[in-house]
Amino acid sequence: MSRVVSFEGLWCVFEHRSGQLVNALHDVNFEVQPGEFVCVVGRSGHGKTTLLRVLAGLQPPTAGQIRLGEEVVEGPGADRAMVFQQDTVFPWLHVRDNVEFGLRALKVDDEERKSTTAHWLDAVGLTDFADSWPRELSGGMRKRVALAAAMAVGSDVILMDEPFGSLDYFTRRNLHDVLLDLWEETQKTIFFVTHDIEEALILADRVILLAEGKLVDDIPVDLPRPRDEDVRASAGAVDITKTILAHLGITEEEATQV
């Protein structure tokens, strides 16, 4: 029962303290098919988080709307579970209870709740840590808890805002594999915000580029999977990288200087 996600004339304007108006989102229009893996890429402060927050229902748009199928997004809900950039695992609940939270809120009966939780803990490789406190886990493991919690509520759209930004390279690569496995298994639609072009090339079916709140390009990434080193070094991948860099306003000289 996956649904198309449509962004229709979406504006989000903020007034800063100086009185200056900022178009965090500037007339954004696009459509995402069920099961697509979309990476939202852009420079810092160009509206990526805002796009995700409006989709999550945490931020009302100034104009326009987002629809899931026929339904207009009006507030947060379990059909659009989100994994945040910061650590949002509940420190006062055991790992298992963290994953169970959404299911409890949805009043899923005990038996189903337990089996669903066990399934997702297993899927992210945390079965042995089910009875641990979050403080006893590493940062990467806590991200897996957040991922399992988001998966467990059974939404068909998952939102991820630079979820692995604070992790080291190896942990991040490992979590990419975990995430891609889950995605292939569940066929959920995933919105993944990142400013790391390599990460986008590893994960995405499609890259949405935002610059100053405008959708400046919508790039299909039709590279074969799995996207190992060879694939990412292929001519097709390099072309995509160049396109993205050009849109972000980074010329090749600038890129090498940095």
Partner: protein, 360 residues
């Protein structure tokens, strides 16, 4: 590193933990010693307070065998022995009690000096207003029921009042504080009231409670004041605790399908425990002082009343300083209750950083 080394590390951690525990006991002992040293110094002949402050250990002179003085506390005529043997009713105590409140003796009613002295206690005030308004007069001390002429009943009554007041206040404060998160109207109404009374020191409010409720209904006065005080504190503590929960965590709960009810149960309730529990310890510590203080203001049954009476007895009768025993009793009681609380709090907050440091 082999696993034997690991075990060694663990043993070392345990040794450290024991050492910390012993250190804290030593600190408490040093604190108590300093307290008594200060007391002895204040009661010396050279001290300006010499005439106001009796030496802590009976009639023993300054530094003149303090050990003997400590022993004196336990001797037959010592403060602790006296305290212990008079837990129940005794004729001896009855005489002292009546003597301690001479303003109630018919012969003294017209003595202006006595009246000034007794009005300081707040007692006179209530009996006068009662006389003016035609209300019931406070029971003269000589007519109190028999069980009132011993230490035990006073101590028990005070403990019950304070714990009841703290319990009522905590429930009320948490209910108002946490519901104000869900219903902003509650916060709009309650925050100004709480800020107003919260800024005025509660000890100033104490005499008003005595006036409003009078001393003949000590339940209302003591329990009421302690309840009032804990409600205020717990209101602020619970709100602050909830405000300190990161917005990101609440937003995350919302996108996972959290309803107001489930977010309250699984986010606000467990997440605010450490701060609320810490606040409760502070509130209870204050409640001991407040409860006893308001009794000193003229309530006939309760530990505060004993203190009040002893102000007279020390000056007039050279009675053994049962006051020392009384103060010690309340001090020990407060420490014991606090230690029990700490055990519960440690269990409830074992998920937190503090829990990690405590090795739970």
């Amino acid at each position: 590193m082999t696993s034997t080394d690991v075990l060694d590390v663990r043993a070392k951690a345990q040794r450290d933990k024991r050492r910390r525990r012993i250190a804290s006991i030593v600190y408490i002992a040093i604190g108590i010693t300093l307290f008594f040293v200060a007391w002895v110094l204040l009661s010396l002949e050279a001290s300006p307070w010499h005439y106001d402050i009796p030496p802590p250990f009976g009639a023993v002179g300054p530094f003149q065998d303090i050990l003997q003085g400590v022993w004196g506390l336990f001797r037959e005529e010592g403060a602790i022995a006296h305290f212990w043997s008079n837990l129940g009713t005794s004729q001896d105590m009855r005489i002292k009690f009546v003597h301690a409140c001479p303003d109630l003796h018919p012969a003294n009613v017209n003595n202006p000096f006595r009246q000034v002295a007794s009005s300081l206690m707040g007692w006179k005030y209530t009996s006068d207003t009662a006389a003016l308004t035609g209300g019931p007069l406070p029971v003269p001390i000589g007519q109190l029921p028999d069980y009132c002429y011993g230490y035990g009943i006073h101590l028990v009554v005070t403990i019950i009042r304070i714990l009841l007041g703290a319990a009522f206040g905590t429930i009320a404060g948490l209910a108002i504080g946490l519901s104000s998160l869900v219903f902003p109207k509650v916060a709009q109404v309650f925050t100004p009231i709480a800020s107003f009374f919260g800024t005025a020191p509660i000890f100033i409010a104490a005499p008003f409670f005595v006036i409003w409720f009078g001393v003949e209904v000590p339940i209302m006065t003591t329990i009421g004041l302690v309840t009032f005080y804990t409600t205020l504190l717990m209101y602020f503590f619970s709100r602050r605790a909830a405000e300190n929960i990161p917005v990101g965590i609440v937003e995350s709960a919302l996108t996972l399908g959290g309803t107001p009810r489930s977010i309250f149960r699984w986010v606000y309730l467990p997440g605010t425990v450490p701060e609320i529990a810490g606040g409760f310890r502070i509130a209870l510590a204050g409640a001991w002082g407040l409860g006893v203080l308001v009794e000193v203001l003229g309530i006939q049954v309760g530990g505060g009343h004993l203190i009040d009476i002893w102000r007279f007895l020390i000056g007039q009768l050279q009675a053994p300083s049962a006051l020392v025993a009384l103060i010690t009793f309340y001090g020990v009681l407060a420490v014991v209750v606090d230690a029990l609380l700490l055990v519960i709090i440690r269990y409830l907050t074992r998920w937190s950083e503090a829990g990690r440091r405590l090795g739970l």
